[in-house]
Symmetry: C2
DNA sequence: TCAAAAGTGTTTTACCTACACCCATGA
DNA sequence: TCATGGGTGTAGGTAAAACACTTTTGA
C-alpha cells in the first residue's frame, strides 16, 4: 500500500427503527431532538458514527445513548443516501431495525443530552419526523411485515409468556389484516416452536387462556434450514 | 435551520455485484484496478460516490464508467462498514447487485482509466479480491440465491428466448443443487409467466427444444401481490 | 345468566415430491 | 442406428383455506 495516498474522512449516521408491542398496538421508539438541526422535532433514534467503531457497534451504542436501552440486537435493512437528506451536507445513513419486548419497563432514560426524551409511539399515530425519517420508518415497517411472513419473529415483541390470541393480534397488527383463529393456531402449533405452559392468564373477566412460551432451541433448529426452491 | 452548523463532508463508495449467465456458468463482473490502493488487483466494480449524486445514480454511473455497461437497474443489498475495510480511512461502501443478460455482447469497455480491464469471471473460479470484496460477493450471492427461491427473477440472466432446460440449469447453478426436470417444468409453467413460442432451438445435434419467452405483464401481476401469511 | 373470549375439526383444494420411459433429431 | 437431450403423468402426502359452534369464566 502507498503511504502517499490521501486520508479519507467520513461522516455518516445510523438510524434505528425499534418496534415494540404494547396495549394491542405496534409502536416504535421516537426521540425528541435537543440539537440542531431539527431541534425539538421528533425523530428516529440516530446519530453520527464515530471514526473508529463498526457500524453494528455504533448502532448499539447510539441506541443506548439516546434511549437507555442496552444490548439490543439489530439488523441493518437499508442505506438512505439522497443528496439533500441532511441539511449539513452529504450524510448517508444506515438504517437498522429491531423488535423488542417491552416487558412493562417502558420508561426510557436517554443517557446523552442530544435528546430531550424518548417515547414509544403507535405506528398509527406518528408525528411529523425530522430528516427523511418517515421514509426510513416506512421501509422498516415493510421489512418486518415481509419478514414475519416467512419467519415467526413475532415472539421477540411479546412478553415471555403469552396467549395465542395475543400472538395472533400481533400478526394482525403487523400484517394489517384479520386472520382465521383456527388456522392460525393450527399453523403456529404445527411449527413446534411453542411450549405450552401449565399456567393460565390472570385477571381477565372471561375464560382464561393458556399461556405459551417460545421455544428457542426448536426455533433455531427449524430456521437454520435454508428456504428452498423445489426438490 | 441554523447557518452556523458545520458542513459535513463525506467519502463513501459503491460496489457492484453483477451477475451474468453464460456457457452454463454463473459469472460476475470483475475489474482489474489501475489505481492505488490495490493497484493491479481484481475487484468488484466500485468507486467513490460524488457529493452531489444519489447513491442509486452513483451505482449506475460507476458501473458504466468501469465496465461500459449502461442503464443497468441495480438493487442495494447491504452496507459494509468495518473500520479497517479501506486502507485510506473510514470508507463505508454500499453494495448493489444486478442480474443481466449477456446477449452475446460480452466485450466490456471501461470508460474510465481507473481500471485496466473488466471481465466476466465464473463465481466458482474467483481470484483473490481487493478490500473486503470477497465478503461482499458472498453476501450478494446469498442474496440472489435467497431471492430466487421466492421470486422467479432468473429470466433477467437468460437470453430473450430460452429453453426450459436452460432455465433449469440456471436455477441449479444458483441454488447449487439438482432439480427434478418434470417438477421444475410443471412449476414454471404453472406460474403462467412463460410464453411458449413457435420457434425451436437451432444448431443442436439432438432433438431441438421449444423456446420460451418471459411474460413481463403476467409476472408483474403475479408478484405485485404481497407475500402473505395465512388467510 | 350473560357477556366475552377460549377453544376446537372437517372438508376441499392446491402444491410439493418421488419416480422412469419413450421421442425426435442430427451426426 | 445411435447418442443426446426433449418431453411427459401419476399417485401420495402435506399444508392452506374456508367455515361455526360449544365451553369456560368472572362480573
Amino acid at each position: 500500500m502507498e503511504t502517499l495516498l490521501p486520508k479519507f474522512d467520513s461522516v455518516f449516521s445510523i438510524d434505528c427503527v425499534i418496534f415494540g408491542f404494547d396495549d394491542g398496538e405496534l409502536k416504535i421508539l421516537l426521540i425528541e431532538r435537543n440539537e440542531e438541526p431539527f431541534k425539538d422535532w421528533w425523530a428516529l433514534p440516530g446519530y453520527i458514527v464515530e471514526q473508529d467503531e463498526s457500524i453494528d457497534h455504533a448502532a448499539e451504542r447510539i441506541l443506548y445513548e439516546l434511549t437507555g436501552l442496552r444490548d439490543i440486537y439489530m439488523d441493518q435493512f437499508y442505506t438512505f443516501g439522497d443528496v439533500n437528506r441532511h441539511p449539513q451536507g452529504r450524510v448517508i445513513t444506515v438504517a437498522y431495525y429491531a423488535m423488542i419486548r417491552l416487558n412493562g419497563n417502558k420508561e426510557l432514560k436517554p443517557v446523552s443530552n442530544y435528546v430531550s426524551k424518548a417515547v414509544w409511539t403507535s405506528v398509527n399515530d406518528l408525528p411529523q419526523l425530522a430528516f427523511d425519517h418517515e421514509k426510513i420508518f416506512t421501509r422498516g415497517f415493510e421489512k418486518i411485515r415481509n419478514k414475519i411472513s416467512y419467519q415467526p419473529i413475532a415472539f421477540e415483541l411479546l412478553p415471555e409468556k403469552f396467549t395465542l390470541t395475543q400472538l395472533q393480534q400481533l400478526y394482525e397488527v403487523i400484517l394489517n389484516k384479520k386472520l382465521d383463529k383456527r388456522n392460525f393456531r393450527k399453523k403456529m402449533l404445527n411449527y413446534g416452536i411453542l411450549k405450552e405452559l401449565d399456567e393460565k392468564q390472570k385477571g381477565v373477566s372471561y375464560r382464561a387462556a393458556k399461556l405459551y412460551k417460545f421455544d428457542k432451541r426448536k426455533y433455531s433448529k427449524l430456521f437454520q434450514k435454508e428456504l428452498t426452491f423445489g426438490k
